[in-house]
Amino acid sequence: MKKHKHIAVIIPVNYTGGSLRGAKRLAETLLVGSRLCGESITVTLAHLDDEHFYPDSEFIDMHPDVSRRVYEWKILDSASARRALAYSGSSEQVVQEQSYCVPDDGINQFLDCDLWLIISDRLSLPLLPIRPYVLMVYDYIQRYIPFLSQELELAYFDAARKANAVLVTTEFTREDATQYAGIPPERVHKLPMLVPVFQKTVLSETHKNHTYFVYATNTGAHKNLEHAFLALKIYYDDLGGTLCCHITGFNTENLLSNDANYPYLQKVARIYQSSPMMKKKITLCGMLSDVVYQKKLQAARYLLHAGAIDNGTFCVIEAALLGVPSLSSDYPAMREIATEFDLNVTWMNPNDPKNMAEQLKWMETHSAQLSHSLRSYQPVDLKSMNDNAIEYWKVVQSCL
C-alpha cells in the first residue's frame, strides 16, 4: 500500500498575527495544491507548546484537513546526534557540529513526516539532518536594519544554506537570499504571495465617519517609526492636518511607553510629547480582532503603511477589498505587491518625513476619489489561487 506523503509546516518561534496567518495559509496551499495534482498528502501545522500564544481559537479558521501538533525544541549533543542518525540508517559522518536541534512533539519528533517546511530561517542551532527540510524566508530585514547578533546571523545563514530549498515570495528577497545569505540560486524558489482569505464584514455607509485614517504597524525596529512620527508631527503642526490617526497592531498600545530597552521607541515617544496636536489627534488602539479591525478600517479615510524594507504587507490588499485606499512607503517589496495584485497605491518616500507628511495631507483631499475606484476590487480569482497552490506543491514535491 502506497504511503501518503506527510509534510510538517513548522513555526519555529512564537509567531502570531500575520506570520501565523501566513503559516496556516501555506499549510492549506500545500494540501490544496497536492490534491489538484492528484496526490493525497497529509499536512500538519506545528507550533510551540504555548497556550498563551496559540489558543485553540487561533485555529478555528484553519482548513479542517490540516492537523495541528505542538512541540518543543530538543537539543542533541553530537554523540546523541550521531546515534540518532545511526539508528535511522543515515550516515553518522554528517555530524560535524557540537549540537543540533530537532522539533520534539513528544511522539516521534515528526519522523512520521517526510519533509519539514520551516516558516522563516530562525534556527539558532543546526537542524538534525534526519529529514529533508525547506525554509520559507520572507525577508532579510537585518541586511538593512542590523539588529541580530553575529552568532545568530551566522546560524541563520547556515540553516538556509543547508536547506533543500528556500522559498521566497518577492524578487527582492530572492536577491537577498543569493547575495546576502549566499544560497545557490538553483535552491531559491520565488513563489507567488499567498493572500489571506479575508472575511469581509460590510459596513453600511452611515457608519463610515471618515474622520480618521488607520495607521497599521507594530513596535518592531524595522517599522520606520521614527520617520513616521516625524511625518505625523509635520502633518499636524505644519500642514494643519485635520484627520485623526488611529494606530493599530501588535503591541502598539506600548508604542509610546518610553521603554529604555528600546531606544528607537524612546525617540518616538519624545516626538509625540513635543506636539500637543499629536496628543490630541493620535489614538493608540492596540491589537484588534479581525472583525473590529475591519470595521475600523472600513470607516477610515485611508490606510497608512509607513514601514520599510520588510516583505511587504497584505493589509493594503485587505484595505482595497474593503474599498479603502492606501498610502504606503515606497520600497521594492511593496512595489511588487502593488504590481502583482493590481493595486493603485499612493506612494511616499519612507526616508523623507517631509514627503511623507505631504502625502498624508494629499490623501485628505484625494482619498474619496481613490476609494471610489476600489468599489469592485478583487485581489485574486480562484483560478489564480489554484495555480499558485500547484506551483507551491511542485516545488515542495521536488524536495521529497
Binding site: 545511526a86 539508528y87 535511522s88 530537532v102 511522539i107 516521534n108 512520521d112
Partner: protein, 536 residues
Amino acid sequence: MSIKTYGIYLSYPPTVDLRAEGLGRHLAAFLNGAAQREDSRFVIVCPSWSKKSIQALCQSEKISERSFDVISPKGGVFSLKLLETYQIILKKIKKHRLSVRKEKHQTAFLILNRLKIKLASARSLIDFMLFIPRAVTYCFLSLLLKLMIGLNNSLIGFISFINLKRHHSSRSLFHRVHAASLQPKDHDWVFDLFTHIERKENVLMLALINQMTHVRAWFSPTAFWPSFNNITAPKFMCVPDVVLAEFPIGFSNMGGDRILETFKKVETAILGSEYFVTYSEHIKQTILVKRYGMNPDKIRVVHHATNRLDSFLSDDFLDDKKTREVSQSLLLSAMKKSSYPAYTDAFSNVCVKFIFYASQFRPSKNVLTLLRAYRYLLRNRYISHKLILTGAPGKIAEIDAYIAKHHLAYDVLLLSRLSVPELAACYHLADLAVNPSLSEGGCPFTFTEALSVGTPVVMADIPVTTEIIADPNLQAMMLFDPYDYKNLAARIEWALEHKEQLFEAQKATYNQLLKRTWRHVVDEYITFLDQLSHQK
C-alpha cells in the same frame, strides 16, 4: 513414535534476569506450548550463567523443566561466580546491618518508654524523687546507647574516609568494582568485560551445538546475537522489532554508545542471517524487507497467541464478588509500589475509578500523548477517573516533567514492578485499558489481557493492531489516531460512556483470538524448522 529435536539459542549477557524480559515471558509461553507436543522436544543452548535464570523463569511461569533440555558449557566463568558471591554477601551484610540497627533503636525506645511510664505513674512525691536517680541512670544509659550507635556508624565512615583518602588508587579500584557489582549494566568497562566473556562462551556453545547432530534445526528468539549465524545447521532468527530504527531520536540519549553497540550487533545479526520469523506483517515489510533488503519469501509471520490474566486473580473468575475482593486487595498492595508513597500509602478507596496502561516507559510507547489526552479529559471534560501507569519515574524526563508541570501527580499514578497478579487486578478493576503505543512487534497483548479480566480497551490505530483487529466496525469503535491527543481523548470518553457496548463488541474478536494458542505458535515454528531442515 520418534521424537524430533529442535534447538533454541540463547546468549543473554551475564546478570540478565529472564523473568524481567519480555522475550523471557514469550519464551516461557512458547515452552508451555511446546510441552503439549509429544512428537518433539526442544533443547535450549545457553551460556552457563543463564541456567539459573531459566530455572527461575520456569518456576515463576510454572513451566515443567522436564519438557525441554538446557545445555550450557560446563564449569562456568569464575569471575562471574565471584561477582555473584560478592553480591550475595553484600545483600546479607545490608540485611544484617538493618536488623541490628533496628534492634538497637527498639531497645533504646523501650527503655525510654519505661521511664516515661514510671515517672507518670509515681504515687507520691517521695516515690517520684526516689525514682529520679534511676531515671537519670536510665536516661544516661539510653543516650549512651544511641551515642554508641551513632559513633559506630561515624567511626566506620571516618575510618573508611581516612583509608580511602590515603589509598586513592585503591579507592578508585575498590569503588569502581563495588559500584559495578551493584549495577553491572550501568558501567561501560563492565559491559566491555562481559563482551569478552560472552565471546568466549559463544565459542564453547557453538562447539556444543556442532556436536548435536540430532537437532534438526535451530532458532534464536531475538536478533541480538550475531554469533547465532555461526551455526551451520538449518536455522532462522526471530526479529520481534528494531525499535531503535523506528524511534532513532527518542532512543539517541538512552544508554549512550552501549546501546549503539547493541544496535550494531542487531544489524550485524540480521544482515548475516537468511531466514526469519516476525510477529507481524508490518515488521516483516518495513524492517526486514524495506530497511534491510531481506527476501520476503524467506520470512515467516507467526502471530502471537493470547495472554490471559484471569487465572492470576481467582480459580473461579466468574465469581464476581470473590474476584473483586481479591483484586481490591491486590490493588492496595500495588499502590504500595507507587512512586509517590506520601499520597498512595494511605489511599484506601478500593473502588477508585481509573484508566489503565500497562507498559514500561519507552520512546515508542507514546505516553506523553496519553498524558496530554488525560489532562484534557480531567481539566476540560471533567472526567474524574485517575490514570494508572506501570512505568517508573526517571526513565523519560519529559514524562516526569509533564506530570510535575501540570500538577497531575495525584491523579496520574505510577505503579511499577507489579507482580503478575497485581497487574491482573489493575486490569480487572480499571474501567478501561488503553494502549497508545506507536510500535510493537505484534498486536499488543493489552487487548487480550484486558478482555480476559472483563475490561474493554482502546488502542492506537497502528498496522500491527489492524492486522489482528481487522473488523472495520470494531476498529472504528476502539482505535484512535496516536498522533492526535484529542482524538485519543474523544475515544476514551466515548469508551467510558459505552463500556458495556464496547466490551460486548470486543468479546467476539477476543473469543476468536482465544482459539489461537501457544501450541499453534509452536506448530508453526516447527513447520518452518522442518522446512529448513528438509531444504538442507
